[in-house]
Every structure is written in C-alpha cells, then in structure tokens.
C-alpha cells in the first residue's frame, strides 16, 4: 500500500455514509455526510451529498406540485358549485309564477323539462303558494313535448306537496306522450288533478272558489277570454 492511496479512517467513513443513507431513506431530508477531510475518498463523500441534495429537491418539488394540484382541485370544486347555483338561478328565472285573479297562481312551462328544472319549479311554486296564500296553482306544460320518469315523479311530488300544504295543484296541457309516461310509471292519473288546457284549469279553479255557484262570475269570464 502506497501513501498516495492511503485513506484516513476508511471504515468509519464508510459506516457514516451507510448511516446517512439510512437516515435519508427513513425521511430525514437534512442528513448529509459533510466530510471535512480532503483526500481521495472525500470525492465519494461529496458525490453522495450531492446525490442526496438532488433527491431531496425532487421530493420537495413533488410535494409542492401535489399541494398546488390540491388547491387547484378545491378551486375547481368551488367554481362548479357556483356554476350549479347560477344555473339554478337561471332556471328559476325562466319559470316565473304569476298570480292570476284572487286565488290562483299560474306557472307556464316551455321547452325542455329536465329533472333539475322540475326540482326548481317545484320549490318555486310551493314557495309562492305559501307566500301568496293562493289555494290554486296551475302548472301548464302545454309547451313541454316529453318528460322522463324522474320529471314525472317530480310533478307528482309537486302535486302531493301542494295538497299537504293546503293548496291544490292542477296540471294542464299534458300531451299524449307525457300521459303515457305517467301511466307507465304506475302513477294513478286520477291522483293528479289534470285538465287538457290552461283555460279549463283556470275555470276549475274559479268554480272551486265559488263554493256556492256552479257558474263563473262576469269578471272571471273576462279573465278567461283575455287568456285565450
């Protein structure tokens, strides 16, 4: 063995490297060899420290990216919720409930009626019934060509809930296609108060208002004519 290749304390220094590597593997990101000796072996010690530096940098970067992704996910979920809320608001605006005459509300529905819209309509209508104290609400779906079973269930729910509140919800303008959907669902059509046209529904509501008379008052006739 020549002096040029003599390495001081080789055994301890190798052990130290083993310990440092074990510490890093266990999660200690700060463990380094930090050899103060300058000889032929210190090149290895230094290289190992650099390696650990790179490794921990990679880990930190990965951690940082993970956190950023989590934050982005949270933001997106928040935005989705806001969008849902705005869509609901729009749906509510697109189905206005109007008070007609003394005790009758009308909600004309036009276009596609999906589950979400039906849900909004139901809540809207029931709220209006309670707010105005109107006993009759007419839900006119002449402008709705078809509905799926979920929407049919919502309509049934609306009628049942209106009754529970102490009001009555009449559905007018049911197309043959929709009638089939409702019947196929096993819903008893007689459980829902239905009329072919909105005018007939209003007439029914007016007549029910006049407990004693089976005729419409002059003003009620006027209203019906105006709607036509």
């Amino acid at each position: 063995m020549t002096a040029a290749y003599a390495v001081k304390n080789l055994k301890q220094r190798v052990e130290k490297i083993e310990n440092v590597l074990a510490a890093v593997a266990a999660g200690d990101k700060d463990a380094r060899v930090n050899s103060q000796i300058e000889d032929d072996f210190s090149g290895v010690e230094f290289a190992i420290d650099l390696l650990i530096d790179d490794l921990t940098d990679e880990l930190d970067q990965g951690e940082k990216t993970r956190k950023e992704l989590e934050e982005k996910l949270a933001t997106i979920q928040q935005q989705q919720q806001t969008i849902r809320q705005q869509q609901d608001d729009l749906l509510e605006l697109s189905s206005p409930v109007t008070k007609v005459w003394d005790n009758v509300l009308i909600l004309p529905v036009i276009g596609t009626l999906d589950s979400r819209r039906a849900q909004i309509m139901m809540e809207n209508l029931l709220d209006k019934i309670v707010q105005t104290g109107c006993t009759y609400a007419i839900l006119d779906i002449t402008g709705v060509p078809t509905i799926d079973t979920q929407v049919a269930n919502h309509l049934l729910k609306t009628v049942t809930a209106a009754r529970l509140l102490g009001g009555e919800c009449i559905i007018s303008g049911i197309s043959p296609a929709i009638a089939q959907t409702i019947v196929h669902l096993g819903i008893d059509l007689s459980a829902i108060n239905t009329k072919a046209t909105m005018q007939e529904a209003m007439k029914t509501a007016f007549l029910s208002n006049n407990h004693k008379s089976s005729e419409l008052t002059h003003d009620e006739e006027e209203s019906l004519r105006e709607i036509k």
């Binding site: 809540e123 019934i129 309670v130 104290g133 006993t135 809930a161 209106a162 529970l164 407990h211």
Partner: protein, 135 residues
C-alpha cells in the same frame, strides 16, 4: 336543554268553537306525546269541535311528529272534532312526501284564515243550525 325547557308546555287557546295550538319549539318525542294528550283533554273538557295546529314555525316534521299529528286527527274524530294543520313550510311538505309519510285523516290549510273557514264550513254542513257568528 335543561329540565325547565323540557317541562315547558305548549299553550292551547280556545277561540269560539275551536282550539288553537301554536307549536313554536322543536319538540322532543315526549313533549309531542304530552301535547297530544293535552289537546284531547281540552277537547273533552271544552267540547270544542275543531283544533287548528299552527306549524308555521316548525322547520322539520319527521316520522314521529307526523304520526303524532295523524294519530291526533284520528283520536279527535272519535270525539267528533276535526284537526286542521296550518302553515306548513314548503321544505317540510317536500320532505314529508319524500319520506313517504302519508298523514291520513289530516286536513291542512295554507293559513289560519283558511283553516278556520274550513272548520266552519264543516260545522255548517254538519249542523244546519250552526251559526258561525255565535247563536
């Protein structure tokens, strides 16, 4: 909730031929049963023909309270009295329908005014000599 709150009774007021009960608190089961008994007792003592139960403040009616209300309607009808629930909140109505809780024999009205009109109409048709303005 303390002992005092637990024993608080819900007031029952008699106006003309009817009892009026306004439920202002979130009832625990025992209180609901006690209320039922109280109302029946009052009906028996006063001979009132109708009970108006105002639930406009109640934010929730679960299966127990629902059964209590329909139970009361059945018992009251045995005593020849009608029960009308008034002021149900829309969210409560929707939830009851979804729960699948039917309340048979329970009449409902949008408000006290309609409720009283409903009871008076029932009395009028039962008794042609009935005068809502007091004989």
């Amino acid at each position: 909730m303390n002992e005092q709150a637990a024993n608080r009774k819900i007031p029952i007021i008699k106006i003309r031929d009817f009892l009026i009960v306004s439920i202002q608190v979130d009832m625990h089961d025992r209180l609901a049963i006690e209320l039922q008994a109280q109302i029946l007792e009052e009906l028996s003592q006063t001979g009132a023909k109708g009970v108006l139960i105002d639930i406009s403040v109640l934010e929730m009616v679960d299966s127990f309270i629902g059964r209590m209300l329909s139970g009361m309607a059945s018992m009251a009808s045995i005593m020849d009295a009608a029960v009308v629930i008034v002021g149900m909140q829309p969210a409560v109505a929707i939830t009851l329908v979804e729960l699948g809780l039917e309340m048979p024999g329970v009449d409902t009205a949008l408000n006290m005014e309609n409720g009283i009109a409903m009871l008076e109409k029932r009395l009028e048709s039962q008794n042609e000599f009935y005068n809502p303005n007091g004989a």
